[in-house]
Subunit: 349 residues, 3 copies
């Protein structure tokens, strides 16, 4: 299998879905300036604790509302004090003797929900969401240790998601950490795609080699490994080693712009032993892996921009990348009708 993705001016943009714009704990008294596909969005939490998202531009003189302050149920602009409620309606124009509310003074507002410790925002303003945010697995399972991490990655959602789910690069970019230390063996990958997701299951994989493998899977045993992409931007790696070790690394990706992606990572793990020291041991290794990925994604993204767009050649061992591309392109075109597909690939890893 070889396919070249079409070079385009910009990566596919999926607007009609939910993205994480902040962790719930970040959104406090002060409004937060965020962006989604380069559209500035202000988040604020009203006096009752409810989170809201508005276009980050005052309709009066275009000053960002994120420079303002929360006043009870409303967000006040820093320039002339116009106040807007969570629905974007103008509720006060200081100095004006008439009523403030007027259709021409509305700010576009985005549906907002808090779930699993994140503030989710629907990417189309003034529109009822067509679906629900992704329900984070294991978020409230007390048997699991959970670690969260945020990071800005250079690259499109496709580039960052594929990087998170790609096996072959680990032997080069992360040489000595995951793979690349022993002789490669042949493993089989079952790839399944439906209208909104793609999953790769690795069959007969050996316990990961390298230092990280020895730390994470000290007991050896049968490995079950799934890599998943779920629209619009969830990349998930699940490992089970034997019966008692279970790791699920979920990255929720937010396209700040076409080529800059904010990664909200949740790492949930269950071990056959007390876990605190594992978290401490894994953290520096995980950060090293992330830094290596940031570096290679930065180089990739700079080249993509310089050449005017992504122009990829893939082989059959790029097991998820082309599926992610197809799902994103169809969703960007407003359709979630990609036909189911299933195939098996042999890979040396």
């Amino acid at each position: 299998m070889l396919r070249a993705m079409a070079a385009t001016d910009h990566p596919p943009r999926v607007h009609d879905d939910w993205y994480v714009l902040a962790e719930s704990s970040e959104l406090r008294a002060r409004p937060l300036a965020r962006a989604l596909y380069d559209t500035p969005i202000v988040l604020f939490r009203d006096a009752r604790g409810v989170a809201h998202a508005l276009l980050d531009r005052c309709p009066h003189r275009n000053v960002p509302l994120s420079l303002g302050a929360v006043r009870g149920p409303e967000l006040e602009c820093a320039y002339h004090g116009w106040r807007f409620d969570g629905g974007g309606t103008c509720q006060a124009v200081p100095g004006l003797c008439r009523a403030a509310a007027h259709p021409g003074r509305r700010v576009p507002s985005f549906a907002t929900r808090e779930a699993d410790g994140f503030v989710w925002v629907y990417g189309v303003a003034d529109e009822a969401p067509a679906r629900a945010p992704y329900p984070l697995p294991l978020a409230s399972d007390a048997r699991y240790v959970t670690v969260r991490q945020q990071l800005t990655m250079p690259g499109s959602v496709h580039a960052v998601a594929e990087n998170a789910l790609d096996v072959p690069h680990t032997a080069f970019v992360h040489r000595g950490l995951f793979r690349g230390t022993g002789e490669p063996s042949t493993i089989e990958v079952i790839v399944e795609r439906d209208a909104t997701s793609a999953v790769a299951e690795y069959v007969g994989e050996a316990r990961p080699g390298g230092l990280l493998g020895r730390v994470l899977g000290p007991g050896g045993g049968v490995v079950r490994h799934f890599d998943r992409f779920i629209l619009p931007s969830v990349a998930q790696v699940e490992y089970a080693l034997g019966e008692h070790t279970h790791l699920v690394a979920t990255t929720l990706l937010t396209p700040v712009s076409d080529y800059e992606t904010r990664l909200y990572g949740v790492f949930a793990a269950r071990f056959p032993f007390a876990a605190p020291w594992v978290a401490r041991a894994v953290k520096p290794l995980a950060m090293r892996v992330l830094r290596q990925d940031v570096a290679i994604l930065g180089a990739q993204t700079a080249a993509v921009r310089r050449f005017g767009g992504e122009r990829y050649a893939s082989t059959e061992i790029d097991v998820l990348g082309p599926h992610i591309d197809k799902l994103l392109r169809r969703a960007a075109a407003g359709a979630r009708d990609v036909s189911p597909a299933s195939h098996r690939v042999t890979m040396r890893a």
Copy 2:
């Protein structure tokens, strides 16, 4: 009253009028590099003391003439020594055995006048001015203390002029300095517009509150307050408190580029007492006000550029902004035929 200004690629550009490009005291032996709507212009003062303005590009190899030197009546290019007189005619090509003057070697030149301590330049090259520069009031009245100040402001001429003349923002951007400390009262504003200017007169306004008010108007009394915009770019605030206190703050705005405006400010004041200590007391307050305006204009301008143009909603208490916009747009289209208008507005301030 609500109106949305049309979003455009760029703010209106009024070329056929006079702009200040320097204070007279700045233009000495060395040429000065300036810009008007992004067009580079070189100012030089010839050996007889006369100021000239040329396009800042040598016709020979395009080096900026502002890198050169004044030689008697001419400006000499730094690259090959070509010399140009104030009218832009090439008077010398070193090394050339023939005559230097030639139509293809002319530099476009701009009408230049010095008045009231400023070097004024007409914005269309090689054209006889259609009008005269704005005559600065009180510039030579010995009863007035005069202070001058230059500053680059982010924002279009419209944004900077409106900011200079706008009352409602003072309670938010300059909270505690002008207004916003006491209970607001209702005041009446009479707005008059003719073909080239717009004036707002505030009727029955109380002595300004806050610290600045106490410094400027210690005696109280009847307040007369006018805010004026005069084409192409004069913003003027006039206050009279009683019979003996009179303040006129005139800002002459020069569009360096669409979204960067050089402000040449002249503050003329007459007090019922000796004024030197007032100037010393007011200066730090004035600078604080300017810094606050620079900050909010910077945020506004960044958002305007990010969204691709100004898209404003106005209310009736934006008493001058929409008139300034109308005057500028008509003038940018080459017409100064805006019909006279007059209306009254009630405002709480």
Copy 3:
């Protein structure tokens, strides 16, 4: 003679010819990232010592190949380890169980030759060169001292080549170093142009004045002086003073982008005496001259870009500039058919 070069979006680009992308001594075990007219090119030297040039983008995920490593005869990508030979064929895809070579995985490759201590690359990928690289004169003549120098100059190939060959600017940009110290005399210049080059011969020129002249030509005598431009980008100054002093300064110009040119200079000199101290004496003067030229070219180039293109007026003492322009424009249009021309010019210098 006066002519205005047409203003265009960009300077003429001559792709179908050879350019120096590195000195041979620079290309060692690590690949080098270079650019030609903004196209990224990676140079690498394989295990047998042969230099190669490929488009600096992996066809797989677009990471620059210059971040990779040389493995025997191949260049390995840093992301997934794909390997390419000097012809651009993919020879390995780690993990893939099938053959790696496939037309869709090729990298465009550029003809590469090493000669006279330089790595030359032909500017059109996957094409047999239409001609040979410029043979550097005196490169292997033991009677000559040779000094090499690299420098990035702001400016197009035209601007940098003309600057290197232009006489009149020396009295202004390099005042006191070359000329401008004594009374100018009238000299005659014979200009000859053929389909691929233009030469100016200076007849009856006095020994150069200034400090540099006294160092270079202590004995005086008859001066012979030629300035040459040879397509695509060779600028050469040749001086002979009497029978025993002979200087040839050749600059090989590489358009990194439209307005940034890498200069590879070779200065070859023969003197009637031992030369080492001359090289030491000349070096700081030469560097001072180059810094002055970098400064003036930088100012010129910034103005050219700001105004949207070169728009030049020339006189007859711009003896080579218009010819260089004509040669470059015809070559950029794919033709090397400029008709021969010859004329004489009188210049005061």
